[in-house]
Symmetry: C2
Subunit: 433 residues, 2 copies
Amino acid sequence: MQRIHVHELPEHVGERVRVAGWLHHQRQLSRLTFLLLRDRSGLVQVIVETPELVAEVAGLQQESVLEVEAIVVLAEQAPGGVELHQPTVRVLSMAAAPPPIDLRLATMKEQLPTQLDRAPVALRHPRKRATFELAAASIAGFRTALDTLGFTEIQTPKIVGSATEGGANVFTLDYFGRPAYLAQSPQFYKQTMVGVFERVYETGPVFRAEPHDTPRHLAEYVSLDAELGFIEDHFTVMRFAREAIAGMAEGVRCRAGNAVALLGLELPVVPGEIPVIHFHDAQQLIEQVTDEAVVGEPDLAPAHERWLGEWALREHGSEFVFVAGYPMVKRPFYTHPDPARPEFSNSFDLLFRGLELITGGQRLHRYEDYVAALAARGEAPDSYESYLEAFKHGMPPHGGFAIGLERWVARLVEAANIRETTLFPRDLTRLAP
Amino acid sequence: MQRIHVHELPEHVGERVRVAGWLHHQRQLSRLTFLLLRDRSGLVQVIVETPELVAEVAGLQQESVLEVEAIVVLAEQAPGGVELHQPTVRVLSMAAAPPPIDLRLATMKEQLPTQLDRAPVALRHPRKRATFELAAASIAGFRTALDTLGFTEIQTPKIVGSATEGGANVFTLDYFGRPAYLAQSPQFYKQTMVGVFERVYETGPVFRAEPHDTPRHLAEYVSLDAELGFIEDHFTVMRFAREAIAGMAEGVRCRAGNAVALLGLELPVVPGEIPVIHFHDAQQLIEQVTDEAVVGEPDLAPAHERWLGEWALREHGSEFVFVAGYPMVKRPFYTHPDPARPEFSNSFDLLFRGLELITGGQRLHRYEDYVAALAARGEAPDSYESYLEAFKHGMPPHGGFAIGLERWVARLVEAANIRETTLFPRDLTRLAP
């Protein structure tokens, strides 16, 4: 008999079927026992009545793996609208101890550090499982959107000879006796590959040796990176970033409907055209409203980002808003300046529900501009030699963006801590599981 | 005017169009100049006749980026069957020096080390570009096949607290002042996630500090990993591995037809059922034919794998053959033994054209079996504590496999060196570009 999944049971009412999964819960009454069996698709209640089987299942640890053959019976009050009667039970694998996390509650009561310490078990909770179904659906939606737009997927090295994004937050490793680094982003490689494929994306890990323990930062996360050539300016890039995000929302809608329902989520609507406000105008607006002196500051404070999120919702009915034209001083050396106002850049952030979700922009594309930009920052072009080779030999105007997968999912489920949407987070103190 | 790509030109004969790309080649005759323009879709010839423009383009370095508006004219002898007449040319980006690689030849004449040193330019060669189109199409095909079979994509950490596959070939890094390692595989995590999703896959980098400089090994490569629960034994896993490979071949066929044509490839046919031979039977066959004493050896030599590849083609008309039942001594501690012959394992390799392409098998799934297996190898279960947690709390019979993306593409294009199918390879000596 072929195993079926729990979510298929309503199609088999009256039939004897085989299911398999984990012993999620059991409730013993005087004469019978209710087993709750969990597979990746849901939960089903199994009614155990024969004294021998009641005695046998009484000895099973929770989370033991069982195969059950039984008759599917309509039962309006049961989860999924059906239950299983007259079962035979085969133990595929006996759990060796009671689970360290109580998976039976609708929402886990354990604190986040405990959940993370016991992730191999905690991730089995239906709400946790659903969270990572959103992640899988989002990344699939990202790829589908960009595939449709003629992008090519690339795989670039994570072990690199020099830091990509500069700064101190780079991990060093022993590479056959000499130092090497973990890539902070695929930035240089995705730009280089614009010279080959014109439009590229990569979905993979990036590494930041963040010395701060915050709810928003991880030492390793999944970056959804895209880069494209033959653009006008950063407005072209913003249009593609909009397509990527819309694809991710669509991916969730199409591929993870059950997870959305289980979590009771309100999915965002990505407007056909996301409102854009210039950084300088945003500061002026905020200054008018808050009476704080913010114009001239090089960046937006988190409170100001939240305010802009509310402003965009109020004025444009959009949960998304692009802030464009950040000051050059706060952007990496490869950023293209605004030709008309060179103290501002052709770069942008996308805020979603008042928090930064995407960073992107137009890059420099002329070799001489790179040499000048590095000199202006007091850096020797020599250490960027192989990066600069692409620009020395002709690169079109181009730009790109990056989306943190865990951050996107955190916003969808309104998680307060990025670790809630990371399977096995890495931070200042956490290296296991 | 909207830019179109070179491969779309035949649909626009007689029209004035805009194209853009790299100056691939120029040939100056006495009165006119032929420009060859390259974009990601192909090459087109542009006829320059006006003396001013002839003079202007004479000064352009190869690989400069140009935008051309011109009339599409049928020209049977030209590449793609069309050429561009009466052009206007706008220079988007001037190359600063002649390219270090001669991209104009149908096949690059530079040796592999030079190609790798100058990868930002060498990868622009149409044959190199096509190679990596195969990679992108293969990985997409892998995901599509497994998505269809109910697998969930996961993203697991690459920075880990202990070596996954054991041995000395692990990279060590400085993790906020303490040692950490780069994951040699997602093995432990994908098994753990079978407890959550039942069927999972991951496509991402893995890291091996290979101390040998061979044409088959890299320090970093892309591993396509899958793992699934509720299996019978390794034969179930082999059926899914077959589906994954068939999906990759199908991905190439559907998504990279132009690359296949450009490279003149014969794509493999994946039989509905791939022939399987037991390791022991394979040794007996080889012994009969070669008169070498191979029965009892713990592994197959490369020459024997090649022989088995020829045997499978001759006897079964298949370029693929599974060798199942490798001796336990050559397999990692988590491998499930053959219950009937415990010196052999429920594991397999898939040979493709006489070379190992996939390794996989059934894993142990009972907690006590892990404790015993580690003890037998003289290892303390303590250092595997968070890995073992999944098994302590109920895991179904399961197994999985891994495919090296670069190795698969190398076999497709019959590359002698794995570095030919890696964008930016990492090895004993190579850390840039």
